[in-house]
Each structure stands twice: as C-alpha cells, then as structure tokens.
Assembly symmetry: C2
Homo-oligomer: 190 residues x 2
C-alpha cells in the first residue's frame, strides 16, 4: 500500500468490535516499528506496556477521557470498547525529557495498526494517577500516551473545514466527521 | 512497500548529493501527509515552510546544530548539504501548546521522504533566533522542528546497543552506525 493511502486510512477510531481479540505478536510487531523510528539524540527513552486481555482492557478503560467534543458521549459502550492498549512511558532514568519521541513512535505504531486491518486512537487526556495506581506503574516512568486499539466499527469521514471550526461531530447515521484544514492554509510563504 | 520496510529504511541521513534538487510538488505532497495525520483535539495548529532553492537552503543551513555525538564533524561540507528543508511551526493564534503534533507530522513526512527515494534528518537543535531573523518568521509562530532533506549519499547501519551507549558513530569507511535498544528492553511487563 502506498504511504498516502495508509495515512489517509489511519483515522482516529473510537468504536470497536470488542470481541475481536488482538494477538500479542501483533502488539510486539508494533513496538518494533517504534523501536526503528527516530529518537532525539538517539536516547531511546520510551518504554511500552502491551495489553490485550479482556481483564487488563477493562482495568485500563476508566483511565481514559473520551472525545471531548462529543458532549453527549462518554466513550464507547460495553461491546464497542478497545480490545488492546499500548501505554507509552518515558523512562526518567534514561532522559529527563522526551521531546516528541512519543509522537513519532505513536504515529509509526498507528500506521502499523491500520496496515494490520485494525484501528485506534491516541490519548494524551489520561487520568494519569488513576492509571498509575491501577497497574502500579513505577514512579520512574512518566505516563506519556495511551493508544487504544481494536477492530473499528465506525465510519470516519474527512471534511474540509468550515468557518474554522475544528470540532469533530457525528451525523444521524453515526458517521464520525473530522474537519481538516486545506493544504494551502498549512503552507506559509516567507 | 510494507510499512516495516519503509520504517527500517527511514534512517537519519546527514550527507547528501547537494546537486539533486527537490521538486516543490514533492514537498507539497509531504505536507498533505502531515495534514492527514492526527492532531491533538483536532486543532491542527501546525504550519509549514517549504524550501527547495539553493539560495534558501544556503540561508537556512547555519541555523542547524549538527550531530552532537560526532565531535570532529560540524555538519556536511559544501556539496553534501541538504537541498530542501521543511520548517514546522506552531501557530500560537490557534493553540498555546502543540503536544506531540509535530512529532506525529514529522514522522509522516519523513516516511514520505524515504518512500520518494530521498532522505533526511529531523532537527530540534536549532538556532531559533538566528533562523527567525534570517527569514523574518513572525512571532506568532513557534519554531518547532526543521526537517533537512536531500538525496542521501551515506550508508546508515543499525547495530544492537552495547553497554547502554546510545551514541552513533562513523567507521573508517564513513558508514554511520546507530545503536538501537533491543525489543525486549522496550517492553515493560506490569
């Protein structure tokens, strides 16, 4: 698949077929994509926690803050929740800061997720202390991002942005619409 | 090409065939990859400056801090310098913070660069005031990253890390070696 097609397919999905279990080998392969991605000064301070069991997924779910723009929606209901997670941690014994390493790694991972016929969503809005307590995450790790993964069951449509409003929304057929700025707005001529 | 192969090929290159000019259409296509990549709360606050002319490249080059681990090397010599650049800016009129949006965008772009048979290097070590002054970059833009691009002429080899030393190095044949941590070091079991 051409990269452009893969990136276009890599939308943020928030509703899944929860009964679809994700093989641990797939999760490991995703971390290998992150491993081979650039890291500031090659420090490689990121660590990854992989969850694919029903029990761990149930324990993690309440730590996420879902879709701030959808006021009437508190996240996917039972049966439509993620069936896998990757927690991206920053190892403070390796580096005090993590720059954008986790953004780079997360994008590599999410492209791999979509290439594998799955989908997901990156979360920076995390109830971090709740998550740390639930899984006894050692203090030496900073909680950077959570990637929620699964077999998507929703349709995501990219629209051209209108009146500068960036809020995504759902239509009456539950299609998820995402307004994107046009290319000419992104390129600055100096 | 499979994503794994593309990511494995996407190394940080620092020496180029400077006479290879990069078509502006290629640069625009790269920004479209960034445009379709995730953005925190879908705010899309990133802006991009594209340079492919010899003159602009010469003006930008001195603003970059090259390869901190190579003590005897101040960056590529004339003839081996980048022939294109993308400056990633954060538009402060859209958002005060940029999260890891620029990491996500930069990885999408660099994958596209390598798919196109080119290569490059992400820079966060930038002489920001010098760069701002040289191109009169308005204060409303935060300078986040610079991506240096070109037709690579160096060979990059990934080695398994040894004794925890993450510093890349060059062998006597000018091969650039990059030590990477093994997968099992990156996965944390909780």
């Amino acid at each position: 698949m051409k990269l452009k097609e893969l990136i276009a397919r890599t939308r943020s999905y928030r509703r899944f077929n929860e009964s679809h279990r994700i093989d641990y080998k797939i999760l490991e392969g995703l971390i290998d994509l992150a491993r081979l991605s650039p890291s500031g000064a090659n420090r490689q301070p990121l660590k990854f926690v992989l969850f694919n069991s029903k029990r761990d997924c149930e324990r993690l779910f309440p730590s996420l803050v879902w879709a701030a723009y959808l006021k009437d929606w508190d996240g996917p209901e039972a049966g439509e929740r993620p069936s896998g997670y990757i927690i991206i941690l920053g190892d403070k014994t390796i580096s005090e800061g993590f720059g954008v390493d986790h953004g780079i790694a997360a994008q590599s991972i999410m492209l791999g997720v979509n290439e594998a016929g799955l989908g997901g969503c990156m979360f920076a809005s995390i109830r971090r202390e709740q998550l740390r307590n639930e899984f006894s995450i050692p203090e030496k790790y900073e909680i950077l991002l959570v990637l929620a993964l699964g077999k998507p069951i929703e349709n995501v449509i990219i629209d051209e942005i209108n009146d500068g409003d960036v809020r995504y929304w759902r239509d009456k057929n539950s299609n998820h619409h995402v307004p994107k700025r046009p290319l000419n707005e992104l390129i600055v001529k100096l």
